[in-house]
């Protein structure tokens, strides 16, 4: 469902009149009664300032971010304003929130730099800006606004497809379809910089190190990609030959569903080889079970693996939920002061996570924990 903006308003605190709507497009959309009801959430007390506030009243939803700029040059020592959107009360307005927040930030900057809002003349430019905003955001979901000679604002409505999962350092992002299909230039600089490193094998931390981009930025960029792209899988996966996987009931779909078959065989076939057979691939998946490491699988099924890339096999299986990974979770069962890192041994932190967080290698951790009588390893 498209998010339709019914009205955009600009509200201010006037030193003698109090809170009022200076501009709104379309005109007269917000009734006197509606404004009186909600004004205390539009021009707010200090505790609510600079926060995104959505208020629903009289069948309308108003989303705004009240701004307060303190300075003795302003009458009453502060400038208070709020640029907000009005939608129908039943609209899902999540996509509008980042835009409202961004706009409040932009206006604040413009005011601090050049007195854009406190100057009566330049303030008038707001009206055509608001008209353009309303039109463009409703029509295409994006808007580019030249403010003056040196400032332009770019806005885009992001329709969230699902709740974005939190991306961890040890997650491995992978493009489910060919990433060349995505035009590089449409992405921001950070995303462009990390794109070459997203190959389904490098985890976030590694991408950050190799692409020379700060870890948090990589995380945010990947999270952004997750929200925007249709096919994009992120899952915590550290491919190692010591990993253990097992099938899920969904593996049956490989037999039942022709389209998944096609997709699978196309994906897992080794480069330059003849297309793998369904029989081989299915056998390989079924060979995965608790207790069988990848190393074991490779030695048992070496014949089937002639035309199949085991890494891509696992990736596909994970993406389509045909298989799942079994992780080791250490649990501390006795009080022992000598053990290091007790806080991670609760049964909620996998080996992967511990390795990533502490920088110890998998083997080293394994050695430590297998020999510790106070630690029990849970596979789940």
């Amino acid at each position: 469902m498209a998010t339709r903006i019914e009205c955009i308003f600009f509200s201010e605190f006037h030193p003698t009149l109090g809170p009022k709507i200076t501009y709104q497009v379309p005109e007269e959309y917000i009734s006197r009664e509606l404004f009186d009801t909600v004004q205390v959430y539009i021009i707010t007390k200090p505790e609510l300032q600079n926060k995104l506030i959505t208020v629903t009243a009289m069948d309308k939803k108003l989303i705004g971010c009240p701004v307060c700029i303190e300075h003795k040059k302003y009458s009453r020592n502060a400038l208070l304003f709020n640029l907000g959107f009005v939608c129908d009360a039943h609209t899902n307005t999540c996509a509008l929130e980042p835009i409202v927040k961004k706009l409040s930030g932009y206006l604040t900057t413009l005011e601090l730099e050049s007195g854009f809002i406190s100057n009566e003349e330049s303030k008038q430019k707001l009206l055509p800006i608001m008209s353009t905003l309303l039109e463009d955001l409703n029509a295409t979901g994006a808007c580019t606004l030249p403010i003056d000679d040196s400032n332009t604002i770019h806005l885009k409505l992001i329709q969230l497809r699902r709740d974005p999962p939190i991306v961890q350092e040890y997650d491995v992002p992978v493009f489910a379809e060919c990433k060349d299909l995505y035009i590089k230039s449409q992405w921001d600089l950070t995303t462009q910089q990390i794109l070459p490193y997203i190959d389904g094998f490098r985890h976030i931390q590694k991408i950050s190190a190799e692409a020379d981009v700060e870890l948090n930025l990589v995380r945010i960029a990947v999270q952004n990609l997750l929200q925007v792209l249709i096919y994009f899988g992120v899952f915590y996966h550290f491919f190692q030959y010591s990993n253990v996987y097992c099938t899920t009931p969904k593996v049956q779909s490989l037999i039942d569903d022709k389209s998944i078959q096609e997709e699978c065989l196309g994906y897992v076939t080794k480069q330059g080889q003849k297309r793998a057979s369904l029989r081989d691939v299915f056998q390989l998946y079924c060979g995965l079970s608790p207790g069988t490491t990848m190393r074991d699988l490779c030695s048992r099924y070496s014949q089937q693996l002639q035309r199949v890339d085991e890494r891509r096999l696992i990736q596909f299986g994970l993406m389509k939920c045909l298989i799942r990974r079994l992780q080791k979770y250490p649990v501390k069962v006795a009080r022992d002061e000598r053990s290091r890192l007790p806080r991670l041994y609760t049964g909620s932190h996998s080996y992967d996570e511990i390795c990533c967080k502490t920088g110890i290698s998998y083997q080293e951790l394994d050695e430590r924990l297998e020999n510790d009588p106070n630690i029990v390893i849970c596979w789940k």
Partner: protein
């Protein structure tokens, strides 16, 4: 006395920018007049609970005066605002150019009060009087008072002229809180008894945090009828100056050949000032128990005045000069320079750098002039 606090609702209303929040910050929040310049506009109603004299709680409703808010108060918020009001304080900016509009809002308030809290006491403060020329002030105030009393009928209103730059602010607020203290008659009786026992010329009782005079005794008429609020103002300023330097004011003694004045902590919620015209009163290390009220009357004690460095002493001497002048007018004596007895203890942290005087605009300049003249 009941152990639970008694709450009294006080409405503070008036046009936008008339000075409501400034007044409240000075009286209850330890602002000095200059600090109020930094205050922003009050959005809708600001509630504050002020503890007064131990278990009296003043529930202050500082109502923003912009048109949008005022209109709301009389319509959608009417019951909420105007019910259970003990005191309505309405502030008028003496410089206002919209007298009719001001009166219109005032009358709307009175209407709402009459409907919802008909027993409420009404006070009108004609504020920012420092902006009026000195020789005009009485006249202008008299005019306003007449108008307001007439307009307020059938309700009675008490009018004061006020300014944050002099003692008139303290006079008005003293009178207002006096109306709110439930056992104030008894307080006055006890104070009289106490004063007579110790044969004091005058005794003042101050609320401890605000230094508002809540009761006084005098055995005869004195020349300066405004001395009480002047003392409030002076001591409060001094107390604030001390606390800005991490010192805490406890007591003060001022004497010359004709009188001695003592200011000290009286009870946990009050200060007392005792004026004795018998100069032979000397320091007495003992305490005397007051028979009737059981309160401890401290005639004098060892003085423990906590201001130490030269700047402090300077301030003290100017304070004592102020006090001396005020007290002199009390007795009509022309005494020689007031000697100031104080004990100095060891050093304090170094004083902060002197404050840069703010840039003056016209009205500020006038106000500053008034404030400085007080220090002569």
């Amino acid at each position: 006395m009941s152990s639970t606090a008694m709450k009294k609702k006080v409405l503070l209303m008036g046009k936008s920018g008339s000075g409501k929040t400034s007044m409240r910050s000075i009286i209850f929040a330890n602002y000095i007049a200059r600090d109020t310049r930094r205050l922003g506009a009050t959005i809708d109603v600001e509630h504050s609970h002020v503890r007064f004299l131990g278990n009296l709680v003043l529930n202050l409703w500082d109502c923003g005066g912009q048109d949008t808010f005022m209109e709301n108060y009389f319509t959608s918020q009417r019951d909420n605002i105007f019910r259970n009001v003990e005191v309505l304080i309405y502030v008028f900016d003496v410089e206002s150019r919209e007298l009719e509009k001001d009166m219109h809002y005032y009358q709307s308030c009175l209407e709402a009060i009459l409907q919802n809290s008909p027993d409420a006491k009404v006070f009108c403060l004609v504020h920012k009087m420092d902006l009026v020329q000195e020789d005009q002030r009485d006249l202008i105030f008299k005019e306003r008072e007449e108008d307001l009393k007439r307009l307020s009928r059938p309700l009675a209103c008490t009018c004061f002229r006020t300014s944050i730059w002099d003692e008139t602010l303290y006079k008005a607020w003293s009178s207002i809180v006096y109306q709110l203290i439930p056992n104030v008659q008894q307080l006055e009786t006890n104070l009289r008894n106490f004063a007579q026992i110790i044969e004091a010329d005058e005794v003042l009782l101050f609320e401890r945090a605000t230094f508002l005079v809540i009761s006084h005794y005098q055995c005869k008429e004195q020349r300066d009828a405004h001395r009480f609020e002047k003392i409030s103002n002076i001591i409060k300023q001094f107390k604030l100056s001390c606390s800005k330097l991490a010192a805490s004011f406890q007591s003060m003694e001022v004497r010359n050949s004709n009188f001695a004045a003592f200011i000290d902590v009286f009870t946990s919620n009050t200060y007392v000032m005792v004026i004795m015209s018998d100069p032979s009163i000397r320091k007495c290390p003992t305490e005397q128990k007051h028979i009737h009220t059981g309160r401890t009357a401290l005639i004098t004690t060892r003085l423990f005045v906590c201001f130490f460095l030269f700047q402090h002493l300077q301030q003290l001497s100017s304070t004592s000069v102020m006090l001396g002048n005020t007290l002199r007018s009390w007795s009509g004596w022309t005494a020689p320079s007031t000697a100031c007895t104080c004990e100095c203890a060891s050093s304090l942290p170094p004083p902060p750098p002197p404050r840069i005087p703010p840039s003056a605009n016209q009205s500020t300049a006038r106000r500053r002039h008034v404030a400085d003249s007080q220090l002569q």
